[in-house]
Symmetry: C2
Subunit: 449 residues, 2 copies
């Protein structure tokens, strides 16, 4: 019988593994709770009306239709039976839970938001992981300007025009920059009672600078670029409370400040997919504070060489008792996915295993807005126009599908010329579907970026 | 003081009126519950994954930003005070209901679905009027194929692969054709357990042919084209029951048939916006069975020359005691909108009123699928490739915004070459937002097409 590989998660990691398994003597089953691959690095542009949902998502079946060795199953993983070598899924439709047997299991289910024990903040300050999140954030940002236009009470209007972003990693910085552009450029002539350019955009960060993963000089440049767009960076500041009317921030000096704000966006923490805990429990291990499961230097689950896990949901051993420092970005997940496929191919060919996983950092880029970006590419620090151009090229190149590239190129070109954002629609999207028969189930989220 | 015009509804009718008022000595306030204009004639393509929501919607503020004489208010009309000449709206945000005074009122709020006294069918068989409707229908169609793939029980699988469309007007015909193309072309290589081409697509129609507004010869051609795409037309058939497992149809011969089907789409009836009833009650008049209010031959509300109403929500007098036969399409609404503006401009200039409203029928087109369409343009019957080309050109020409035209052209070109549909995403969209502060209110829907 052909070797059965089950891959959980059609994100960057899972798809990279499947691609690298092309031609191998295996049958692959890909399980995801969504029917599309999401290009998460551009999600913030959907959240700010620059792109639409369909332009950064590709149907998984379409991507894999030429791979007759791959079967796609839509469903949520409810448990994993390591002894029986079965993944149990709740499929879409009326079917009961169904076991999917494997010879090798690759779990790449990504991560969601972490609210550090304050899950009650989630509805007040949504994070940005899914298309539904992006459309909800877009709705809140645009509705805030509408409500400010409709309100002539100065205090209420000011609260509607205050946008607080919690966490100044790449997502937080990019969101703050985009909201700045919306307020100053896109909406400049849209309203009659308010000046959207007077919006206050606050980027709260607990550390002492933005983009802590970057060189400090780049952080400084990013802060200047943000200031030019009207976004204020507040470092050394932790959120101690969120309610519908605003945020309470605790500053470095011990003082507490209440910031009236009707729009709060969470970009501060990441929590591994619940499948990490399932794997850990099944293997008799534990997860770390971010919910991640430990894997060996070859990405296998300790004691279970037939199970590999990768991406945002794992901590990879460096083979010397420590943990490999890995950023939660798409290239890291893709490299791990390809490594998993290589390891399996070697095993099946009876060859010795590859050397432990090693991450090749090709660089890191973040845009702040039109013509503004910072980053490091192959050890070179970049900022301003060259960084922006590099960012543009890399994202267009890696975006899935020729059609999506053409569509995004049209949108970016028009936006560049007109300063417009055609997709600034207020629609409701709600949470990913759950519940009644016929709706796709929720669970095993796609790999993070 | 400048003459104040309030326009309710940013659909085809309302926008046509506002465009034709450019340069007139008026101040215009446009009230809509959504922040975008929707190009409804292409909504069925969003429902079938050919286009994305953002490509057929344009932000109203962006469309009108150069018109400093126009103010846009997002909100729902809760009542109309004809004596005080005020429209009362519930604005977005925390504000209480707010009166908006007018000197002339133009109401163009369109229509929704009619379930002929069976409102309980709505969740079982959604109609297609809003972007949220389209995304919900897309979710149901795509989920049905997924559920069929996951289910090996033949009867359940067959029910998942049966699609019933109720009503064979243009929307029903276009939807049936598109689902046929999805099943036969788009998804052909996507699944491993089912053959999507075996899907059963039933188009139920109470009359004796499809597209009753067209020439009978064109109806016959449309039925043949539908048959080629695997869609079966059942004429003389009324729906007498809908439940989650299927539809009960009562045929012409008096027999009743139960059709097991998990996906049912409603394209059968239209109900005027609730604002028609508000107007009728305020004027001491009544609405007809479709909820429409009667207006005079010059589109004014009887007894209230300062109030005009138009589009799908009105019955227009022919001036001889009868009703003007008007189709519920975009050109009819646009002609009425332009007429309303012309009437007002003449009034303000002290000139005699224009002759009664007269509808110029420029034609009617419906696509059934790739290279297939039927229609009449300027009295000529068209079908097949010429009709399809005419349809394509007209829709691209009238689509709002250069950017949307470019994006749709990219999608259509790629779809034509690859038979693919890039936007076949299963996402939840839910109903248009209502409820908590900060969410846009529901109400006065945009003009129908």
């Amino acid at each position: 019988m052909t070797h059965r590989v089950v891959v959980v998660g059609g994100g960057f990691g899972g798809l990279a593994a499947i691609r690298r398994l092309r031609g191998a003597p295996v049958e692959v089953t890909l399980i995801d709770r969504r029917n599309f691959h999401l290009f998460q690095p551009l999600l913030y542009q959907v959240a700010t009306g620059g792109l639409t949902a369909g332009e950064i998502a590709s149907p998984l079946r379409g991507m894999l239709k030429r791979r007759r060795d791959v079967r796609v199953m839509l469903g949520e993983v409810s448990s994993i039976d390591l002894a029986a070598r079965e993944v149990i899924i709740d499929p879409v439709g009326d079917r009961d839970a169904e076991p999917v047997p494997y010879d090798t299991l690759i779990v790449a289910a990504g991560a969601g938001h972490a609210y550090f024990g304050h899950d009650e903040w989630e509805p007040l300050a949504p994070g940005l992981k899914s298309l539904e999140d992006a459309i909800e954030i877009r709705r809140r940002i645009l509705t805030a300007f509408e409500a400010a236009e409709a309100d002539d009470d100065p205090a209420r209007r000011a609260a509607w025009l205050t946008f607080v972003i919690v966490g100044a990693g790449p997502t937080g910085v990019e969101l703050a920059g985009q909201i700045g552009e919306i307020a100053r450029d896109t909406l400049r002539r849209d309203f009659r009672s308010i000046d959207p350019g007077s919006a206050r955009i606050l980027l709260l960060e607990g550390a002492d600078r933005v983009l802590t993963a970057f060189d400090p000089r780049l952080s400084a440049r990013a802060e200047r670029a943000l200031a030019e767009l009207g976004a204020t960076v507040v470092v050394g500041s932790l959120v101690s409370g969120i309610d519908p009317g605003g945020v309470e921030a605790r500053h470095e000096d011990g003082t507490t400040e209440r910031i009236p704000a009707r729009t709060v966006i969470w970009a501060a923490g990441v929590q591994a997919s619940g499948l990490a805990r399932l794997l850990a429990e099944a293997a008799g291990a534990e997860v770390d504070r971010a919910g991640r499961v430990d894997v060996a230097a070859d990405l296998t689950l300790p004691g279970h060489p037939e199970v590999l896990a990768l991406g945002d949901m794992v901590r990879v051993s460096d083979g010397r008792g420590g943990v490999l420092p890995l950023p939660g970005v798409a290239p890291a997940a893709m490299q791990q996915g390809r490594y998993a496929a290589r390891l399996l191919r070697r095993r099946l060919a009876g060859r010795p295993p590859p050397p432990p996983f090693h991450y090749t950092d090709k660089g890191n880029l973040a845009t702040i807005g039109r013509l503004r970006a910072v980053g490091e590419v192959k050890g070179m620090r970049l900022s301003g126009f060259p960084a922006w151009l590099a960012w543009l090229g890399i994202h267009l190149f890696y975006l899935t599908g020729l059609q999506n590239r053409a569509l995004v190129l049209v949108r970016w070109t028009v936006a560049f010329i007109t300063h417009g954002r055609g997709a600034r629609l207020i629609t409701s999207e709600g949470r990913p579907p759950t519940g009644p028969a016929g709706s796709p189930p929720a669970g095993g989220s796609p790999e993070g970026s």
